[in-house]
Point group: C2
């Protein structure tokens, strides 16, 4: 298996991401193709004692798509960027998957432009895994690929999310909930009222409406469907609150010596809390619906996070996910539902 890693455009320098790539490449016994600044990649490979061209390869690129670049402009104008070169390698079949911690909008636009969509899927969706109190992740789709959605797009997100949950995660008969502002049918805005009808009529295990406060506390379904705009708002609201609560706790602890002693005794408890709710240490979010395996890693990805994002890509390759998504859409279309 060969995975392409775009080492540019994230918050950490390319060297850090190359380290993560080498780590997971060794562990899984797979090849990693690094796209980006040649010197940074080569020097890290040398420093870690890895020869160039055996398990680890370099695609030297002269351009970088930055976080604040306009996605469509960047995709059109920066053809020698690590992102576009990497996506072209995937399109050409030279690698099995593409992983990037860069500008999310540019990954989405670049993937649509370079790979195209899976036949029958009108819009791509980002599937974000969220940690929950009970331990098992919940999968939110779309977390930000498609901002203006029709109800039919949400139906496709539901089907893709369910296929991912089954084929990659191994959940049989996954349940699908609709992110809404009330439990009963008819709640919410017009988009959600129509999406409810479509989901109810579809060949899915529809769990009805679910509310945002339940997601990580009660895990009300395996897959949560949302339009990309509000999915992204919901995701960031959760991330921000978790981080704010931990900041507040730190503030309170600093104010008192007794609390500091208490915090020392609670080190382990805090550690397990951190690992349970840490969004930054979680792997990547797959972009579903494009013709190839693309995983978007967090912009703040360090070596450990990027390794985990590559791991997500490997699991998709193992599951032959693009093919499975294609088949599940074709099956629905031929059934006429």
């Amino acid at each position: 298996m060969r995975i392409l890693l775009d080492v540019m455009g994230g918050d950490y320098p390319p060297e850090e991401l190359v380290k993560g790539g080498i780590h997971i490449g060794r562990r899984r016994g797979i090849e990693i193709v690094f796209a980006g600044d040649e010197k940074a990649i080569a020097s890290t490979l040398v420093a870690l004692g890895e020869p160039i061209g055996r398990s680890f390869h370099i695609i030297a690129c002269t351009q970088v798509i930055e976080m604040d670049d306009s996605p469509v402009k960047a995709v059109r104008g920066k053809s020698d960027s690590s992102m576009i070169r990497g996506l072209k390698e995937l399109k050409a079949g030279n690698v099995d998957a593409f992983v990037s911690p860069g500008n999310t909008g540019a990954v989405v636009a670049g993937s649509l432009f370079t790979l195209g969509r899976i036949a029958g899927i009108p819009r791509p969706g980002i599937l974000a895994p969220l940690p929950t109190v009970e331990g098992r992740d919940i999968f939110l789709i779309d977390a930000g690929a498609t901002s203006d959605c029709h109800a039919e797009h949400l139906l496709h997100f539901a089907r893709m999310g369910a296929t991912y949950a089954t084929e990659v995660i191994g959940i049989e008969n996954p349940t699908v909930g609709l992110l809404n502002i009330g439990g009963e049918q008819g709640k919410g805005n017009r988009l959600m009222a129509r999406a409810y009808e479509l989901l109810e009529a579809a060949d899915l295990h529809f769990a009805g409406n679910v509310e945002a406060h339940q997601l990580i506390k009660n895990r009300p379904a395996d897959v949560i469907v949302s339009d990309g705009f509000m999915g992204n708002i919901c995701l960031k609201a959760i991330e921000g609150s978790v981080s704010a609560v931990t900041s507040l706790l730190k503030q309170s602890i600093r104010k008192s010596t007794i609390a500091k002693v208490g915090a020392l005794l609670m080190r382990r408890a805090f550690g397990s809390l951190r690992s349970a709710v840490s969004y930054e240490k979680r792997g990547g979010a797959p972009l579903l619906g494009v013709n190839g395996i693309v995983v978007i890693a967090h912009g703040r990805s360090d070596a450990e996070t990027i390794a985990s994002a590559i791991d997500v890509a490997c699991r998709e390759v193992d599951a032959d996910l693009t093919q499975k998504l294609s088949q599940s859409i074709a099956r629905v279309d031929s059934n006429g539902s």
Copy 2:
């Protein structure tokens, strides 16, 4: 000053809410009119040694609008409910404000139906105060009154939010941010792109787009504008995450004796964390844009929370808020902007 409290339709029994009303009535030296089950109200007044008809009054009602009632149906069908009777008292000028912990949709529908809108304001918005890490609240509008919004509605939410921040909270020249999924202009969906243009052109201190993860961590503006659907999603995502993190922390503590000792030493730190992020103990959320002062309290309001919601209503009455909102809209209209 006379405030009407709807004691029915919340999660706690009416007796608990009457206690909260008596407490704040005594403290502020104001009159409270309790609408709801006569026996429950009267017995609580007697138990707390308060005569009926001096500072505390009863409006006996035979119907209750429940949390799962359809708002429009309930408003039309339950004319002897505490909610509708209470709103009619406000309309008639017999009280200065109306406070309810009941069905939010029904409070919105009932207020529109009974009180009508302030001239020039097309849709009402719920203004939700959110605690932030720095201590001062941030005000989110609309938190759930209007699910399907045009950009013009968001402009009005911004004006109402700014007027509230100035007149009730005392913030001079409040800044207004637009809840969006990226910082730069043009990010997000079509609704937000259009709202951005309107807000930028308006006579407001527009702070640009703000993202959901910044809200309680960085307090990026005084007032945050959103459509009611995504505002509600954002609010509930924040509430749910804060509650999930504290549950997880409790779980971790229970697993270890040393952590339990640590937690004991940290009791004060946890207490101040709890009071900083507790949504349930926060007062009410004003419904702005209807012709009268209406405050929606949390469904889980106990005596303390309901007292705090009544306090919010009193501050609005003191500020003559309905008049101020009217004037600020009229001023804008006459300037033609």
